[in-house]
Symmetry: C2
Subunit: 226 residues, 2 copies
């Protein structure tokens, strides 16, 4: 019975990891759509989102089953409750990546972004996918050290985001208001994607080590720009 | 023992309701800051956010305690799991409202928004607060009928949001790119605030009646603009 229980918890961790990997894949496709105008990549987003949705449903069903049948307590209970929240974060990452793809599809065949921002978004996309993959591996092994590696990549994203915001708000922006709006919204999607990956990592560190996360959600809210 | 259990579930529902009411209060203060330049209202946001954070912590502790001590099954288990997710939505509503206040504080003493958009945001604020209050009352009574009343208000918000986006993207926008960016981001904060209230309402309907929500998350993601 305990073996079954721990096998279930392992499956849960693996499915959560798969959700993060899928969210990263969606963001990779979405970024290709925005930066390169790759509409095949944009189309891929919808089937990948469907897959993410199916994984989410599987996680939700499994958490309910484990809670009902195994009546976990203490650390295992907190793990299962964390799993519910982590699934929510990973699901939202997929939604945000899909929003990126929508901007590309909405503007097509016109470019989604001004050409002098493509390198910026290519980089944000790279960092976003890296964050999702790190969250994936941290989850699959439920490894606090791997989870801590998420932090530096997030600071990279915050920096890129701030620079982007400065770019569109500056008097030297020549591409007009509509383009500024699309670029700002895109930047926010990437930033929030990263935020969710960081949240997942913080939950892993807390569950694996009992360490209080570096900052409370309240403090994080206070500090977050935009 | 069962009386204690149901008393705990009632407290959970009440605390979730209080979280929504608090999120609505934060959004009310934040809207006053953005629309009227009321910096006293902006200052209030931070103590209200702190209160929301404390409620969130209380809910998280209570759900863990109930799961550990009562080992609920079936419908009561699903309610407790819903509570975990609803708390996440309500917490995020507070964060989004705080983001609205930050835009006001960032621009102060300059107006946060062009004067020809103030009526628009006053209306979005009114609808947002109404949504939070409806979610509050639906939760406190765990009432599916009250929860269903959230839908029409959300459609109002979607409409306001779409009109705002059209406004800033149009060639007739004369306030420049920076203002367009702030207005677009603000619009997104109000829209997402409403989305979370709708999500709470859908969870209540599902838990109270067993009815499958009108649309799957996947479909909602497909349809959502911006």
């Amino acid at each position: 019975m305990r073996t079954t229980f721990h096998a279930e918890l392992d499956r849960l961790a693996a499915e959560l990891g798969a959700m993060c990997a899928t969210a990263g894949s969606i963001m990779s496709s979405a970024t290709a759509a925005v930066v390169y105008g790759d509409m095949n990549a944009a189309d891929r987003v919808w089937s990948e989102l469907s897959h993410l949705s199916a994984l989410n449903q599987r996680v939700q069903d499994r958490t309910l089953t484990v809670l009902a049948r195994q009546a976990p307590v203490a650390r295992e209970l907190r793990f299962v409750v964390s799993a519910i929240r982590i699934a929510g974060d990973a699901d939202r990452m997929g939604g945000l990546a899909a929003n990126v793809a929508k901007v590309a599809q909405r503007n097509h065949p016109a470019p989604a972004i001004p050409s002098d921002t493509t390198a910026h978004f290519a980089e944000m996309g790279r960092v976003a996918v890296e964050l999702a993959n790190r969250a994936h591996h941290a989850l699959a092994d439920f490894d606090a050290d791997k989870a801590r590696e998420v932090g530096p990549a997030d600071r990279e994203m915050n920096d890129l985001h701030r620079r982007l915001f400065t770019l569109v708000s500056d008097a030297t922006w020549t591409h007009g208001a509509a383009a500024a709006v699309d670029v700002a919204l895109l930047g926010r999607f990437y930033e929030r994607f990263a935020d969710h990956a960081v949240e997942i990592a913080r939950r892993i560190v807390f569950e694996a080590t009992g360490e209080t996360p570096e900052r409370t959600d309240y403090e994080a809210a206070m500090e977050a720009t935009l």
